[in-house]
Chain length 350, copies 2
């Protein structure tokens, strides 16, 4: 397996984006999000997508020169129009602005409309945790999930993430989509010719199936925990598309950022920051670490070696990546090599 | 089946509480929460519990004279010490205060510590929706759920709820706990001698079981969607017990409000209100109704008659209860009759 230093991967991404025409400041933001996401081991949302983001810019599906703009704000909120810039750019601006406001108000919410795929939601939640705050990040996505009683793709599996400062790890953090499993797992089972559990997808009639053979041409993912995941997916649309005045996942106005490269993705995001320092608790990060310790030290189930707290696995991978470089799975390496060759950039793998 | 008018049930509850020594204002708040909850059909959290709340007051497990107190506040937040009052009283105060602040700041959060069971979270979310706002309500509870890798009851199945105004129904609303099913369903299966799905509970070794025979003496509920429900339960503890400086569900300081009547329940709640009017969207309630309409009109699964949007079933029951009175299940009727007899109060059933 090939490896790369986090910093080298970040520099590679930034160079590629600058060479394509992005402002250096924006390129460094995107590069940091993508390389950090790989370091956390969330490869599906990391640098593997860079080549496709660049292809999307080239066919004007996203605006490489897009400048997010605050179009409305008050003491505890703001609305940002992303103007079809790549999602990491308005997302970082939005969470930093939410933290600035939360430091005064206790809590603040910044919502973003007319945006494009922002990668992994957890990155933005962690921006707040780095500032000693609780961060929440939400995005809607193109419809890919059914809802109870329906067939076909009706609503997005709208991701949400949170992070909170803790003294024993850089943060307690958590990043999920609201389907039972990621779409990629279903596609992989199809490639491998395997059956799947009956709560992963529905077939063309909207009925649970153990066969991935016709997915994604037919059928849709199932919401996690049935109506509970459905209700939470609706909440994410309320907090993003409805509140920002942007598009909701069931509106028909959000398309796949990757399968329809030439069209604006048109997603909405929302970021909430809460500053515990204002609430009168002496050391929230220490309290949070104690809470996490109680979870890790709970009596183990038969056969279980250990209990993980949210984000512990990801921080473990991050620390390993910092010390030894990021392990690059074959598909990520292939995508990066293709981009390096095309742009004639050095890719310092080892 | 016995029936009662919503207003008559509310008056009965208020009278009972006043007779026990509660301020009339507080009694009317509690009575409205409990009778509305029955009208929505959420009987497990409604007036059935009133007799036990009163028993709890009598053994000083909760303070019938408790006066919630704002102990800290800023432009977008407040912390309330419930002083062991019954949870509905600080909860209503907290959500109304959150709405007042959100009308200025865009979003506000009010957290409550040292509280007692507040009934159904959805009631408070709907207070915000009645004021044209998006409302979120959270509470931690005594530990009743395992976490991945653990055995026994480690964390609460911490409920959360939201509501948003919509022009076609009084609100879009949603109220869940974070276990796969309610504990009562497991207990009912045990009574009926039935097997249960293997994702409802774990046995004494922390392993999934289809036998409810030893629950709740042994074992624990499973989080919904495994690690996803676990992570969300931790989030609720961060937003409630950690942020308020109160107790978290895994601290050992929260006990069952009902099985340990003589002890303070010691839960924490949190309420968030968001005022869409400040965000520049013309008519959020109309947008939300359109979104709900898209969901209801989605292509149906084979054999499915209709698709429900969050809260639609509950509002349907509420409207029926307004027109025809509340249907009272036998256990609710029995509890109310017992209380009426004890307090020599009229219970106008029909």
């Amino acid at each position: 397996m090939a490896h790369i230093k986090i910093e080298d991967l970040k520099n590679f991404c930034a160079k590629a984006l600058v060479q394509e025409g992005m402002d250096r400041g924006h390129a460094e933001i995107v590069a940091d999000v993508l390389s950090s996401t790989d370091a956390f081991g969330t490869y599906s949302h990391g640098t593997k997508n860079l080549h496709n983001y660049i292809r999307k810019f080239r066919v004007a599906g996203a605006d490489i020169k897009g400048q997010p703009q605050v179009v409305r704000e008050g003491s505890g909120f703001a609305v940002i129009d992303a103007h079809n810039s790549l999602g990491m750019i308005p997302a970082v601006e939005a969470m930093e602005l939410a933290c600035d406001k939360a430091a005064q108000a206790g809590i603040a919410l910044v919502t973003v409309k007319n945006s494009c795929h922002f990668g992994a939601a957890g990155y933005y939640a962690n921006l707040a945790a780095k500032r000693g705050m609780i961060g929440l990040a939400f995005s809607n996505v193109d419809p890919n999930m059914t809802i109870p009683g329906a067939r076909s793709m009706i609503i997005g599996n709208n991701p949400l993430a949170y992070a909170a400062p803790a003294t024993d790890h850089p943060s307690l953090f958590f990043d999920i989509a609201l389907s039972n499993v990621a779409s990629l797992k279903v596609v992989q089972a199809r490639k491998d010719g395997l059956e799947i559990p009956d709560n992963w997808i529905v077939d063309k009639d909207g009925l649970p199936t153990t066969s991935p053979a016709n997915y994604p041409e037919e059928g849709a993912m199932q919401p996690m925990a049935a109506h509970k995941g459905y209700g939470l997916a609706v909440l994410v649309d309320l907090l993003t598309g409805i509140l920002s005045g942007g598009a909701t996942s069931m509106s028909g106005d959000i398309v796949s950022w990757i399968f329809q490269l030439e069209k604006p993705n048109n997603v909405s995001h929302t970021f909430i920051a809460i500053d515990p320092a204002l609430f009168g608790v002496e050391n929230t990060a220490e309290e949070t670490a104690q809470l996490a310790g109680k979870l890790r030290n709970a009596p183990k189930a038969k056969g279980a070696d250990r209990i993980y707290t949210p984000g512990e696995i990801e921080w473990g991978k991050y620390e390993k990546a910092e010390a030894e470089g990021i392990d690059l799975p074959a598909d990520v390496e292939e995508s990066l090599r293709g981009l390096a060759e095309e742009l004639k950039l050095e890719l310092p793998l080892f």
